[in-house]
Amino acid sequence: MSLPDRIDPPPARHIYRWDLDKTYLQTDFDSLRQLVRTALQKASQKTAVPGAAALIRELGAAGDSRLCIISGSPTQLRKVLEEKLKLDGVEWDELVLKDNVSNLLRGRFRALRGQVGYKLPVLLESRARAPVEAEEVLFGDDAEADAFIYSLYADLIAGRVEEPVLAQVLKAAEVYPEDAARILAAWHTVPRADPVRRIFIMLDRLTPPAYFGRYGPRVVPIFNYFQAALVLLGDGLLTPTQVVRVAADMVQTAGYNLITLSNSFQDLLRRGLPLQAVAAPLVQALEGALQGPDKLLAALRPVPDIVKAFTRRVAALGATPPLPPATRVDYLQLLDDARPRGKLRSRAARGVRSSK
C-alpha cells in the first residue's frame, strides 16, 4: 500500500468568526486622537479583551475548527495585527481587513464607515467555501452593527430572509451597487443550511442587554468572555476544564475575581440562559484540575470558596426565568441598527475594564 501524496486536514466541524476591534482588541477610536493613537500602536502595545485569546485557544484546541477574523481595521494594519495575534498565541485561518484606501481613491465615502456592504459579502463568500455541515459561532460587539449583520447572515444562509427584504435592507444601509451584487452572488452560491448556533455580542459600550432581545435568543450579549465560555459549555462546544482555564486566565491577567465571575454567571441565569446544569460539571472540573500539574489552575482560590460563591448566586435567584422564545427577526424594523451607531463611550475609555 502506498502512502498518499499529501494528507489534507480534516474538514472543519466548527467555524468561529471574530471581529477584532472592541471584540478581540480593546480599541478606542471614538475620537480622532484615539484613532491616530490606535493606528500608531505597536503590536505589544495593543491589549486584547480579557479572556478573548484564552477562549480562542480553547475553541481551537480540538483541531477541528477554523478561525475566521473579519475586521473593519484598514489593510495597512495587517502586519501589526498579525503580530499581535501571534503574540497572544492565536492561530487564524482567515484575516480579512478593510481596504479603505481603495474606497477613498474610488470616492466610495459611504463605504468608509459602512459595515453591511463590507462584512456581509465577506461572510457569505467565506461560508461558500466552508463545509456545508460546519456549525458557526460568531463574535462581535455593540459598537457597530454586528448583531444586525451576523443575524442577517445567519438567516440568509438558513433561507429565512426573502430577496426583496434583503434588497430593502441593502438600500437602507446605503450599500454600493457592486457590493450589493457581490452579496447576492455569494448568497446564491451558499448551500442552504442553518449552521449559526450563537452570536455573542461583547457589550463594549454596555448597551442594555434587552436591546438585543429583538434578535432572539441566538444573540447573547456578554459582559466578558467567561460568560461566552459558560454558554459554549452549555452548548457542548467547550469542556468544563476549558471554561475554568478561560476564567483562570481572566483572573491572572485582568484582575477578575470570585465576585465578578460569580456575578457574571448569575447574570446569564437571570436572563434565562439554561445554565444550571453546567454548575456540577464545572465543580468537578475545578476539583480535578487543582490536583493536576496545570499552574494556571493552581493559582485559583480554594475550590470550596468558588463552589460556595457560585451556589449562592444560583440559590439567591429563587426561580430562574425561562429563555425567551425564538422569534423571526424583522430586519425591516431594525434598519437603524444597520447604520453605524452614535457615540457612546466605550468601556476602555471609561476605565471600566481596567480595574475590577
Partner: protein
C-alpha cells in the same frame, strides 16, 4: 491608594419612585465605581426587568430575591413580624452574614432601623444607635469645605440619656472625620442656650462629660439658630428634638422655593430679578442638594445602614452606595469603637 472592594446590599423595594429607580442607581454605581459591588435585594423578576433595560456592568451586580417588602405606610414592628422575608430584613441578614458590607435602603425608615437592630450588633459601649443626617449650612466644613453639617440623632430613638448623647457625639465625630474628611470636627450639644448649665438635666450632664472627653472636640452648647449657620460640624441631640429640627429645616427650604415660585408668577420685576439670579440660585441648589450626599447613616452598629431619602432618585442612590463603601473601607465602626474607648 487602591480602594478596598466592598459589596453594598441595596433594599430595592419600598422607595417612593419604585424599585426601578433603585436599580438605576445601582446600575449607575456599577459604571462609576469599579471597587463597589451592588447586591440588589427584592423581587428578582422586577429587578431583572429594570436591569435588562438599563446600562450597567453585570460583573458588579448580583441579585438576591426577596418575595415581600415593607411599604412606607406600614408599621415597622408588625410588618417585619408578618413578613420575615421582607427585602429590608433579608438585605440586613445578608450584611450580618458577611455577604455584603453595608446596607442601603430608601424604604420605610423604621423598618430599616428595626431590621438593623435585629440583625446587627451594637458596638461595645453603645446603648442605642442613632440616625444621623446632613443639612445645609452657611459655612463650609472639612477638607472640601462642604456646606453641610451633621446632626444626630434625628429619629432612631425618641429618648436619650446623657451617656447616649456622649456616645452620639463620639459617633458623629468619627463619621465627620471619615466621610467629610474633617480631621478634627467640632461637636456641639443642641440646647436652649449656650451656657453649660442651660437645658434639661441630661443635656447639662452630657455637657459636663463631653467637656472632659479626650476624643471629641467639644465646643459647648449651640442654639437652634446655630444649626443653619453651621457653628459646629456635628450637632448632637436626642431623636425627638433632632427629628423636629430636621423636618423644620426641610419645611423652611420648601417654603422658600414656594415663595420664589409665587414671586416669579406675581410680578414681572420680581421675575426678572429671579431670572438674573437664576445662575447663582442654580449653583446654590447644586451645592446644597441633599442628593449629593446620599443618605443618613445609622451609627452604633457593627455594620452600617444608610437610610436614603424616600424620594431618592438614581443619583442619590448611587451616592448613598458610595458613602456606604467609603465608610466601610475606612473602617468607620472601628473608628467609633476606638473613640468610645
Amino acid at each position: 491608594m487602591a480602594l478596598r472592594a466592598t459589596t453594598i446590599a441595596f433594599d430595592v423595594m419600598g422607595g417612593d419612585h419604585g424599585p426601578a429607580e433603585v436599580v438605576r442607581g445601582a446600575a449607575l454605581l456599577s459604571l462609576e465605581a469599579p471597587h463597589i459591588h451592588a447586591l440588589l435585594v427584592g423581587d428578582g423578576q422586577v429587578i431583572e426587568e429594570a436591569l435588562a433595560t438599563t446600562r450597567h456592568n453585570a460583573e458588579r451586580i448580583s441579585v438576591h430575591h426577596a418575595p415581600t417588602f415593607v411599604a412606607m405606610h406600614e408599621k415597622p414592628a408588625s410588618a417585619l413580624a408578618d413578613k420575615p422575608e421582607a427585602s429590608v430584613l433579608v438585605a440586613a441578614r445578608l450584611v450580618a452574614d458577611g455577604e455584603a458590607d453595608a446596607l442601603v435602603s430608601c424604604g420605610n425608615t423604621g423598618a430599616g432601623v428595626l431590621a438593623s437592630a435585629r440583625t446587627f450588633r451594637l458596638l461595645a459601649g453603645v446603648r442605642r444607635a442613632a440616625l444621623a443626617s446632613v443639612y445645609p449650612t452657611r459655612t463650609g466644613h472639612g477638607e472640601n469645605q462642604d456646606p453641610f453639617s451633621l446632626i444626630l440623632d434625628v429619629g432612631a430613638n425618641v429618648d436619650a440619656i446623657a451617656d447616649d448623647l456622649v456616645t452620639f457625639a463620639v459617633m458623629g465625630s468619627a463619621y465627620a472625620r471619615i466621610i467629610s474628611k474633617n480631621p478634627n470636627p467640632t461637636v456641639a450639644l443642641l440646647s436652649n442656650g449656650t451656657e453649660a448649665t442651660k437645658g434639661p438635666p441630661r443635656v447639662v450632664e452630657a455637657n459636663q462629660k463631653l467637656a472632659n472627653h479626650p476624643g471629641v472636640r467639644f465646643v459647648g452648647n449651640v442654639e437652634g439658630v446655630d444649626i443653619p449657620k453651621g457653628t459646629a460640624d456635628v450637632v448632637v441631640t436626642d431623636g425627638f428634638v433632632g427629628n423636629v429640627c430636621l423636618k423644620m429645616l426641610e419645611g423652611v427650604s420648601e417654603t422658600v422655593v414656594e415663595l420664589a415660585r409665587y414671586a416669579y408668577a406675581s410680578r414681572l420685576r420680581w421675575r426678572m430679578g429671579l431670572w438674573m439670579l437664576a445662575n447663582g440660585l442654580s449653583q446654590l441648589k447644586d451645592l446644597t442638594d441633599w442628593q449629593q450626599y446620599g443618605g443618613a447613616p445609622v451609627l452604633g452598629f457593627d455594620k452600617l445602614f444608610i437610610k436614603a431619602h424616600g424620594r431618592s432618585r438614581a443619583r442619590a442612590i448611587a451616592n448613598a452606595g458610595k458613602v456606604a463603601a467609603k465608610a466601610v473601607s475606612s473602617d468607620l465602626a472601628q473608628a467609633i469603637q476606638a473613640g468610645l474607648g
